[in-house]
């Protein structure tokens, strides 16, 4: 089968119900994390313990879907064993591939489990084919997830120059910064995606009603202030309103969702191997809605790429669950930059 025909839908599974819903609604793969800071969604109440991980793998395999495990934080030196054990457990539980960011951990996995399929996480910050080919040559990675900073033309250049499968983000929360290269969260709170698997962690968030409006603070730093008629979203650091040269605005990015439905035929034509849906922290209802829509869209685009058009009903369904109720093509579309 050519890669063009085999574009896969990769859906988020924050817990077992979400995993089952994703599989039932047509996900080719689901990705999940263990219940600790070995993955970049180390949120309280989320993720899989050994029993639910085994059950998730059993369920997915019984329905012909595969399970990917995100081990995509950077092992902190004094706790290395935790990440190493996570790789060992992934193999034991029958996980189909591990998604890694740390070169040291990749070395461990490649050496000890030569048959384990390795994916380079978006947290690995590989934005060009020389970087991706580095991981291919040294660790035999099979797939790389590209940070959400390249234009579609730049992605195509990558695809043409690497034997590694390329996975792109298609929908969900949008990181404006190159993943794996953003320490804004630790600058404010002491914890970042790289070191702790969190960004703008909930425990550092404070909401306060004041005479000036509803204020959101991260470790005491004012991220935004909302008027009566404004929707207040989760206070992610880079999506607050700030003051630059006496002008107050979304200086880094608006609260918005990435949505690339309209680019699907182009992505298929250039040989993208997989589309990833963001949102392991979101509800099973979100996973259900998004999986359904993207399954329909991918099937439609594969069936008849030339006559493919985005169904307005799909957009309506996605808009209901989108962050900030706004969509963007992000960096895939050059003017965003």
């Amino acid at each position: 089968m050519s890669p063009k025909a085999s574009l896969e839908l990769v859906c988020p599974a924050g817990n077992l119900p979400a995993l089952k819903i994703a599989v039932d609604n047509g996900a080719d793969c689901v990705y999940m994390g263990f219940k600790d800071n070995t993955n970049a969604r180390a949120f309280p109440g989320l993720n899989f313990d050994p029993a639910s991980a085994r059950e998730g793998v059993r369920y997915a395999h019984s329905k012909g879907a595969r399970v990917l495990l995100a081990l995509n934080t950077f092992p902190q030196s004094e706790k290395w064993e935790r990440w190493q054990a996570a790789v060992d457990n992934a193999v034991e539980f029958g996980i189909d591939a591990v998604i890694l960011a740390d070169p040291g951990l990749m070395g461990y996995a490649a050496k000890n489990y030569p048959n384990l399929r390795l994916h380079l996480s978006v947290q690995g910050s590989a934005t060009n084919y020389e970087a991706i080919n580095f991981y291919h040559e040294h660790f035999g990675i099979r797939r790389a997830v590209i940070p959400r900073v390249l234009s579609l033309a730049q992605v195509e250049q990558v695809v043409k120059n690497t034997p590694v499968e390329i996975e792109l983000f298609g929908f969900g929360g949008l990181c404006v910064m190159v993943e794996g290269r953003c320490a804004l969260s630790s600058y404010a709170t002491g914890e970042s995606p790289n070191t702790c698997g969190v960004c703008s962690p909930a425990k550092a968030v404070r909401w306060e009603q004041t005479p000036k409006g509803l204020e959101s603070r991260l470790n005491g730093i004012l991220l935004d202030r909302y008027g009566k008629d404004e929707n207040a979203g989760y206070p992610t650091l880079c999506k607050g309103r700030f003051e630059v040269n006496n002008e107050t605005y979304y200086a880094i990015e608006e609260p918005t969702s990435l949505n690339t439905l309209e680019m699907l035929p182009e992505m298929i034509a250039m040989g993208i191997a997989a589309i990833k849906i963001e949102g392991r922290q979101r509800s099973p209802a979100y996973v259900e809605q998004v999986t359904k829509v993207w399954r329909s869209a991918i099937d439609a685009a594969k069936r008849a790429p030339d006559s493919y058009a985005v169904n307005p009903a799909w957009m309506a369904q996605l808009n209901k669950v989108a962050e900030g109720q706004q969509n963007t093509l992000g960096a895939y579309h050059r003017p965003w930059k």
Binding site: D102, V176, G190, E243, V244, E253, W336
Partner: protein, 304 residues
């Protein structure tokens, strides 16, 4: 301990950059990192110009290292990277794994820069095998974590710490300076040249928080570890890095040198620096705290 000057992170006029390095040639710095690491659209200096400055600094007795761009996206970015890697004369600081790939393939020694995510001894050992001779600690790493790294450091590997300057915290494909001026990145009019130390971003209650520097986002506060040089020496740090700023860089280097050589108490240096820094100091990361926090002499300042 050696003193290094990091690459200029801002976009300055050509003449400013040349005269800056004339002053640096006469300053008490041991190692100078050169090149454009932030944005490939910046072009007042081409690779040949950087090589010319490199020769001058080498003639003045400095160890010169050419720094590669952190975010490499396009084929032309890769062409620039290949030119730097094959310069034939100076060591290269790799700031992404694409650079590591090319340097390792060419069997060239290199510096693993601050934008390579070296968070554990296993990764450091891998980099050593690939030819790294020095590594620069990620800016968010604490002293305690560094102690673990140092205990397992490969033979012959030097350790460098970003010890002064607005912290390079994040990279994006988007240009936040152009965004501030409502300009598309492709027609940015090089507005970052107007902000020689970056463009400060404040919270809505006026707290300086970050600094916009084109596609790079920095801390508004100036990371300053001059009070920690003894602790760095105890940890076996070989090199302390000062990041260039538009004014007084040579004075900052001189103060670091004097404290390193035990000719000036760190407290006096810190007091002199308050007039030389473009913003207030921070040192939280070193202490395993939020980076924005400041502990050294903070109590004394509060009392004053």
């Amino acid at each position: 301990m050696k003193l290094a000057l990091g690459p200029i992170l801002y976009y300055w006029e050509r003449e400013t950059t040349f005269s800056f390095y004339d002053e640096i040639a006469a300053s008490p710095v041991d190692i100078v990192y050169l090149g454009e690491t932030v944005c490939s659209r910046r072009h007042t200096l081409r690779t040949e110009d950087w090589l010319e400055i490199a020769d001058k600094l080498a003639a003045a007795g400095k160890e010169v290292v050419l720094s590669s761009q952190a975010l490499i996206e396009s084929e032309s970015d890769l062409m620039t990277l290949r030119r730097i890697v094959s310069n034939g004369k100076f060591m290269v600081e790799a700031n992404d794994m694409g650079a590591v790939h090319l340097l390792a393939a060419a069997k060239l020694p290199f510096v693993a820069g601050p934008h390579i995510n070296t968070y554990n001894p296993q990764t450091l050992a891998l980099l050593a095998d690939l030819g790294a001779k020095r590594w620069v600690m990620p800016v968010e790493m604490s002293r305690d974590a560094l102690v673990h790294m140092q205990a397992a450091r490969p033979a012959g590997m030097e350790t460098e710490v970003f010890a002064y300057g607005r912290l390079p915290l994040a990279f994006s494909a988007r240009c936040f300076t152009a965004r501030h001026h409502n300009l598309p990145k492709d027609d940015c009019q090089f507005r970052c040249m107007d902000y020689k130390n970056g463009l400060t971003l404040n919270t809505r209650e006026g707290q300086p928080f970050l600094a916009l520097n084109g596609t790079q986002t920095q801390s508004a506060s100036v990371y300053n570890l001059i009070g920690e040089l003894d602790a760095m020496r105890e940890t076996g740090v070989d090199v302390a890095r000062v990041s260039p700023q538009a004014f007084f860089t040579a004075k900052i280097l001189k103060l670091f040198r004097e404290v390193m050589d035990n000719r000036l108490p760190a407290q006096s240096a810190m007091q002199q620096m308050t007039k030389l820094m473009p913003a207030q100091a921070c040192d939280g990361y070193w202490h395993g705290r939020p980076g924005i926090e400041q502990s050294y002499l903070a109590a004394a300042e509060d009392a004053a």
